[in-house]
Amino acid sequence: MRELKVFGIRHHGPGSARSLRKAIHAFGPDCLLIEGPTDADALIPYVSDDGLVPPVAMLIYDPKDFNWAGYFPFARFSPEWQALKYGLKQGIETRFIDWPMGLSWEMELAARQGRLFNQQLPKRQTWEQDPLKYMAQIAGYEDSERWWDIYFERASNELEVFEVINEMMGALRSELGHGDDSNLWREAHMRKEIRSAVKSGKERIAVVCGAWHAPALEAWEGIPASVDNQVFKGIRKRNTQASWIPWTYERLAVSSGYAAGVESPAWYRMLFDSRKEVTIRFLTKAARLLRQEKLDASSAQVIDAVRLAEGLAAMRGLDLPGIQELRESALSTFCEGATARLKLIDHKLVVGDRVGKVPGNIPQVPLMRDLEKSIKSARLGSEYESSEVLRKQLDLRVPSNRAASVILHRLIALEIPWGTRQNQRAGALGSFQENWRLKWRATFSLKVIEASVFGKTLEEAASNFLLQQAAKTLSLAKLGEITEIALLGELPKILPDIIRHLNQLAARAEDVISMMEALPVLVRVFRYGDVRQTPPADVELLVRQWIPRIALGLPASCTALDMDEARAHFKRIREVDQSIQLLQHPAEEESWNQALQRVAGRQAISPLIQGGTTRICLDRGIESFQQTELRMRFALSVTQEAMQASHWLEGFLFGSGLLVIHQPVIWNILDSWVQALSADRFQEILPLLRRSFSNFPKSERSEIWKLANGKKPELTQSADIINEELEEVVWPMIQLLLGGKSRPESES
């Protein structure tokens, strides 16, 4: 006699998973039908592979258009996962019955365009999304798993549990309606599949589906097949591809935006694995996590916490403490009432940081395969498999290290930031050494799959992606960045195209600022391109055309700026200035110098920039000391607004006070200006002055102090001028020269 059972489950519900495992076992089916898209059927056999470790997700995508893709995550405590495992172990027919994604997208499109039902798909209600949670909430439980535990877990007959659920859902549906139309279509599809299983002569059929659908599937015999078939008439299914991808608990959590997600994956896993002592285990884990954070949490406190949690549960009329009670008791005992402490561990404790694994023998998109191959040959394999944050130093003279750097940069080009460069200074192109911080996130696998539209290999995909970005952008600075990343990622083939874009965009650009932002990047490319054996192409020509244009536009760009803008712009001026020094083209330098002089002398310009450019002119020898003196007297004249004058000083004294110390004239002007200030004014501008002076090295400041006390300066090079940042750069070379001696402890 044929028998068919429908098991209504709660997606990612550990209680549900546990009951289901027992119930199916008791039922002993010869065919297992599971709610899941039929176009993922090919993925099922891999579930028995021990290398496939949940959380993992089935990714179903349209290979022609990656905007159409769906993810179906599973955790160990997902009832569907347990059902799949069971089916494969028993060797019975196990397959999915929900509509294929290829069909659902077409239906959705049709519905959206009004071809089908002339209405948009409404947002799902919570009771539809997770009807069992809805029921639990009605029963007064915030933690629906606790509700499941109390009402269903102790039933002696596991099969009856599911009958009760089906009845409950039937009642719920007649009360609340069937939900949106897509639900009905999906149920029609599932019933179709059930009929075909029956037709193939299966005797004991188990159907596993979300509780909401259970009554509709149970009624399969009462609904004529033709009615269900009618639903899909005229809709053509798209071709899709499917693969397993690693998932994370983080993305399984509702807080990540996954609508069918759960609030507490780590807690659920614990519930699933060790239900009997879950209170003890949870609080012990909390204590251990706190100890990792160097906070006290003793075993005695765990005991107290367990007692409090149980007491709380009893007071609230619950049989067992739920996540609420556990959190509150942890807060009151370990955390001494301080929520900040609980927050420190809450995420790890409740959501968890578990990452799934997908073994290499499972089919993957070509780009992924290429990536993994190159990762192996660049010896980044262990970093790729680790879920920790790792640091890596690359020496570009070593071939495998250079390959690693190329991979990392190409991934950055694809907006997959596996690695981030540390201590990156401007001019990083000129260095042999790269410091990286690496963390492979599970989500990157998805991004790789998404990026595979751009090409089958990493080089191809990165090139095409960058070209597309270059064609789209209207920002010169962004194009500059693209140029740099193309160089670092060793994608020379696309450089001419990108340079062409740069040229075109620059020709139209009115905006001096974006040219100023892009120029330093280009100069670096030109100057250091050959470190990586990449031809600097036409970059030089471009740069030489740009400089005169920047020079012409500079004075106008320095007007009408507020203080923050002025500081930012002054930074740009300094960077352009340094770039031009690097370039060493006298003609271009000349036009830039003239521009600087104009800026320094013009009235309408922001005083900070005036002061700053005056200083640059002095340092570069563009203007004589007498001219500078004149400018300073002018800027600090008594009639000048004190605020303006102090801004001028901030620019003028930027970076170093040596000038003040060594040039008595400068000192005298400054001194008399300060002395002429009224007490109120002085107080007002004091913070600004402090800002200028506090950047000076300590020795310089003490010299200035001496000067202010009327003493003569006696500046010698003292030891505390050592700049730590510079030390970092210089030290490896010194070490090399000294033959690997360890670094001396810095003296106090």
Binding site: D296, G311, A314, M315, E328, S332, T333, E336, G337
Partner: protein
């Protein structure tokens, strides 16, 4: 008869006296299991604190306005024989909660030790009646029990106020008491064992952090419940309104209830100064050094009420509030004065319908 007359004359009756009817109703109708020597079940204690209805229909007024879960944790802590530490900034109803907990659980909120800098161990353990000691030698009769010892012997709750004001060595004498639940009396070679129902509620002020920090050993013996400042404007207005009405009746001030809009205005000022920004988030403000808790808002209103009753027309006005308000905000004249003046000029002055308050406050300054 004589007793009945006494009650209204007490300046501040104990909670168990003031709310006797409610407590009786809860005790009588309580069907849930109660821990040994508790007056009522934990559930009823929570109802007593948060308000509601007893099973016989008696209305229970709320004593604590705030999250229910905090009170549940507090009661569950006491029910599982752990000592309870109520912590929070001044004026977050710590003492208030502890008094009501003691009243509801033991029917007696009078067993109290006030923590001070000059407290000695005797206050927590026992002292001697020296006349008797000299006359009769050491005996149990010459022993003077501390409130803690009384609580142990009667199975009641002992309250320790401002635990962190006590010197650490005195604090630490609580450790044995809390873990062993006995009080040794070496002079008489005996020990006092606590009977069931004994437990301890301590309050600690987080503003005093670092003065006499609890030792790790002692801290471990407490479950801590952090009482927060009221979460929303409405909640805080509600608290102030209720307490003012209660205080007004016990201080026999005129029956006129403080107008709600004055309370709201006051609470708004306090909240804004406390959080350092205006309620619409449009302006950054400096915060004064004072706590500006709900408790202080209450005292400003009651003092305003008193002013209005005795010197005014009985109706509370901006002028009645101004003095109290200024005093509550300016605790450290060198800093707070400027903060308050800035607030007056930038916020109070520009608010519609606040002209009266602005004028009144300027007059006081």
């Amino acid at each position: 008869m004589a007793k009945k007359k006494e009650i209204p004359q007490t300046l501040r009756p104990h909670a168990e006296v003031l709310f006797k009817t409610e407590l009786d109703a809860l005790v009588q109708s309580d069907k849930d299991p109660r821990p040994e020597n508790w007056l009522m079940s934990p559930q009823s204690v929570v109802t007593y604190l948060l308000g509601g209805k007893a099973k016989d229909g008696t209305v229970i007024t709320p004593k604590y306005f705030g999250q229910k879960r905090l009170m549940e944790v507090a009661v569950a802590t006491l029910a599982t024989d752990r000592a309870l530490l109520l912590a929070g900034v001044p004026g977050t109803a710590k003492t208030w909660v502890s008094e009501h907990l003691a009243a509801a659980i033991s029917g007696d909120s009078t067993l109290l030790v006030q923590g001070t800098a000059g407290i000695s161990e005797d206050a927590l353990r026992y002292g001697w009646n020296y006349a008797r000691l000299l006359a009769e030698g050491p005996s149990e009769k010459s022993l003077v029990a501390s409130p803690v010892m009384k609580a142990m012997l009667s199975g009641k709750l002992i309250r320790v106020e401002e635990l962190t004001r006590m010197p650490s060595d005195v604090q630490d004498s609580l450790i044995t008491l809390l873990s062993e639940k006995v009080l040794p009396v070496p002079e008489l070679n005996l020990e006092i064992a606590a009977i069931k129902g004994f437990n301890l509620i301590a309050t600690a002020n987080t503003r005093d952090k670092g003065v006499h920090e609890l030792s790790a050993a002692l801290r471990r013996r407490f479950n801590t419940v952090m009482l927060p400042l009221p979460a929303s404007l409405e909640e805080e207005v509600e608290i102030v309104k209720n307490r003012v009405a209660e205080l007004g009746s016990s201080l026999s001030l005129s029956a006129k209830v403080a107008p709600l809009e004055e309370i709201r205005r006051l609470v708004l000022i306090f909240r804004e100064l406390r959080s350092g920004e205006t309620s619409d988030g449009s302006m950054k403000l400096k915060s004064p050094s004072s706590t500006l808790s709900a408790a202080e808002a209450i005292s400003v209103i009651t003092s305003g009420q008193a002013l209005a009753t005795y010197f005014g027309n009985g109706k509370i006005s901006a002028a009645d509030l101004a003095a109290g308000l200024t005093g509550a905000i300016i605790k450290d004249p060198s800093r707070d004065l400027q903060v308050w003046q800035e607030y007056l000029e930038t916020v109070v002055r520009s608010r519609k319908d606040w002209k009266d308050l602005y004028k009144a406050c300027k007059e006081v300054l």
